[in-house]
Amino acid sequence: MRLRYPDTIRIIRVPCTGKVDVLHILHAFEKGADGVYVVGCLEGECRFENGNLRARRRVEQAKTILDVIGVGGERVKMFNLSSGEGTRFAEYAREMTEKIRELGPNPIKTATKRQAA
């Protein structure tokens, strides 16, 4: 569709969001990501039945952990759409980017820089 979405996003493709583990989300933040969002099929339409439901629960778990450790649970979010909804994909991308911009950089990054200095 050649729609534009922010180029600050790095896409990691998985066969199903059910493959995404809490550990992957945490590692992303550990390595300096400012935000992580998980995009899966519409609920009820998962190709593998309920992979997207598992993903949602894991995103919730990650949120809780990120809140406790001071990174912020708002930096991770789950979106659902169908593979034909290109426009919506771009929308979500912009929405997420805007939100992360508002929140500022991942505090881990700033803290690491300070330590190195």
Partner: protein
């Protein structure tokens, strides 16, 4: 198996926040099955703690290892050459493993990362429930395979009490009345008449009440 549950991260942070080099040690057996202390949980906790300490401006090294078991000396030996590098070990094994690790590595502070709960079964993924309290004198033959000591809130040997309602225990609608289960099973097995046999007073000396226990098998000892 032994069922445990993760300690809240806040509590774990409180325990280890004074240390600079921490080893998180998981266990490949029971706590892996109940998803509280296996390799994955070690990874998640390690990542979370690393980020926490970085955020706090502290330099803390957090390493990960998952042992086959922490209740057997041969597996704990794996740590022999590396343990002295660490100020503290956070063990995600059950209380048994935490203690054995502490006994084996006497000079290293060891902290528990999970709350050990009971001996139980996996009803379904994510739901574990208690089945045995290790009373030391199994009476399951008399109670149609259902244990009144671990599954009755009052451990009545001649139940049910007057609070049993619609097959549920008086303390919670989610808890099955053990005696309802026993009666149903006795019926199924054609042994309902056994219900009227009075179970005698129990000898609790083989249970916790008698003091910490040991099993010694001379025929197997080296």
């Amino acid at each position: 198996m032994i069922v445990a549950d993760k300690k809240p991260i806040e509590e774990v942070i409180e325990m280890v926040k004074g240390y600079q080099k921490i080893l998180i040690a998981g266990c490949n057996e029971c706590v892996t099955v109940c998803e509280a202390g296996g390799k994955k949980e070690v990874g998640i906790l390690a990542s979370a703690l690393r980020m926490y300490f970085t955020n706090q401006g502290k330099q803390v090294q957090i390493d990960e290892v998952t042992l086959e078991r922490q209740c057997d000396r041969e597996y704990l030996e794996e740590l022999r050459n590396t343990i002295d590098q660490y100020d503290a070990v956070l063990s995600l094994a059950c209380g048994v493993g935490v203690q054995f690790l502490a006994e084996t590595y006497f000079r290293t502070p060891v902290y528990p990362g999970v709350n050990t709960c009971f001996m139980g079964v996996t009803e379904e993924r994510g739901v574990w429930s208690e089945r045995c309290q290790g009373c030391g004198q199994c009476i399951l033959g008399q109670t149609a395979g259902i244990c009144p000591i671990s599954r009755c809130a009052k451990r009545l040997l001649n139940g049910p009490c007057g609070g049993s309602t619609k097959g549920k225990c008086e303390i919670s609608k989610d808890l099955d009345c053990a005696w309802q289960l026993i009666i149903d099973r006795l019926k199924e097995l054609g042994r309902l008449a056994d219900y009227e046999q009075i179970a005698p007073i129990k000898d609790w000396s083989t249970e916790r009440a008698g003091g910490p226990r040991r099993v010694v098998r001379e025929d197997v000892r080296q």
